[in-house]
């Protein structure tokens, strides 16, 4: 005779194969046990159906609001879905990026290069240079050094390695192009962009949008980031 605990453990698939077989044989031979098993299976199905309706309900606004990230946390998935700038609604994302890049291009073409400029313009493309190039090539997100702090590392839709970075006056996204880092976005820090406006902290929403659009898959964890660096960002 099986105990109640063993009977239900069998019903719930908690027994190992041998014991399950033994209990199954006993249940099959006992009409009352078989009936009881069927009643409890029906109860579980009914619980599954009734409570399953909750899964397909739309989530209440208050629950969604609670799960919405705080300002310092950027929801890349949402950024990828929206692909719209959220804070500077009057100015499209591409315009903000183009404007800051245009300033860079202008400065790059009209002003003689200095060896410590963080960007260099060549053939109409903007590349990381000097300290920015070194930071992108050698630094890990966990170990900020100098003025540059590395954020995310990931592969873009074409498989190129990309990294975000933050400096005191700017942040941006650079992706591997041959042996160099080509800038996909270089954004002035928010207080520079918007005068008195100052972000609480964290990633510029325009940069987050850019990352969300460029990124394929998930950002690298610390181990993947280090492995990618050790392999030369291929």
């Amino acid at each position: 005779m099986v105990t109640e605990e063993v009977f239900f453990a069998w019903l719930d698939g908690e027994l190992d194969a041998d014991e399950a077989e033994r209990v199954a044989a006993e249940v099959e031979a006992d009409e009352n046990l078989a009936l009881r098993a069927e009643e409890h299976r029906a109860l579980q199905r009914r619980l599954g159906t009734a409570f399953g309706t909750v899964l397909s309900d739309p989530l209440p606004e208050a629950v969604l609001a609670a799960a919405r990230p705080e300002p310092e946390v950027v929801d890349l998935a949402a950024a990828r879905r929206e692909r719209q700038p959220r804070r500077w609604s009057g100015l499209p994302q591409w315009a903000a990026i183009a404007a800051t890049l245009a300033i860079g291009v202008f400065a790059g073409t009209m002003v003689p290069h200095r060896d410590d400029d963080p960007v260099r313009i060549e053939g109409g493309k903007v590349y990381a240079a000097a300290s920015l190039d070194r930071a992108l090539t050698t630094q890990l997100a966990s170990a900020p050094a100098g003025d540059t702090r590395i954020g995310l590392t990931f592969r873009d839709q074409d498989g190129a390695m990309c990294r975000t970075f933050t400096q005191p006056a700017a942040s941006g996204l650079a992706c591997r192009d041959g042996q160099r880092w080509r800038l996909r976005g270089f954004l002035a820090a928010p207080e520079v962009q918007a005068g008195t406006y100052r972000m609480a902290s964290g990633m510029d929403p325009n940069l987050a949008n850019l990352v969300g659009t460029a990124m394929a898959g998930e950002p690298f964890d610390a181990a993947q980031e280090k492995a990618a660096r050790d392999k030369g960002w291929r």
Partner: protein
């Protein structure tokens, strides 16, 4: 930063399941949504305590269960002086004939509400959420034999209340 992003997206992904577990624990849908919201808030505040690579659903369910227990303790003191739910209001009807699943949810919640808390939580974790006995035991910090015997009593009482 990387764990932060996967934490947020995983948390959003398990919201419907968290909300279902909340319905398994709560006496009505409004309480369930309050509990879900409180759990999400607590989970976000405690995010450093979650270890990436471990199951976020178990971790969040444990948070929810602890919040519910805290509220239930306060509630049970109050309930002792209130009239108990009417006996027999759930029995004697054909429970399944043509019944809409969302209507049945209300009946099942009412029946679950009459189980003692320690039976109700194992029924919700194992029979509704599909956790194993061992996972439930770890979440509740009780021996697996305790989970097993509470589950026997809980599901037997539930079947008596609702038929099947």
């Amino acid at each position: 930063m990387v764990p932060t992003i996967s934490f947020d997206s995983e948390l959003v992904a398990i919201l419907p399941r968290l909300r279902r577990f909340a319905h398994g624990l709560s006496r009505n849908p409004a309480d369930a949504d309050d509990l879900t919201q409180a759990t999400v808030e607590r989970a976000l505040r405690s995010r450093e305590q979650w270890q990436p690579g471990t199951r976020l659903d178990s971790w969040a369910c444990r948070i929810m269960r602890n919040l519910w227990i805290d509220a239930a303790r306060a509630r049970s003191r109050k309930d002792k002086v209130e009239a108990p739910a009417e006996e027999g209001e759930l029995v004697g009807e054909d429970p399944t004939s043509g019944m809409d699943a969302s209507v049945d949810l209300g009946r099942m919640m009412a029946a679950m509400d009459r189980l003692p808390d320690e039976q109700r939580e194992v029924v919700a974790l194992i029979l509704i959420e599909g956790f194993g006995y061992r996972e439930a035991a770890e979440m509740l910090d009780v021996p697996i034999g305790t989970v097993s015997s509470r589950l026997v009593r809980g599901r037997t009482a539930l079947l008596e209340m609702v038929g099947a």
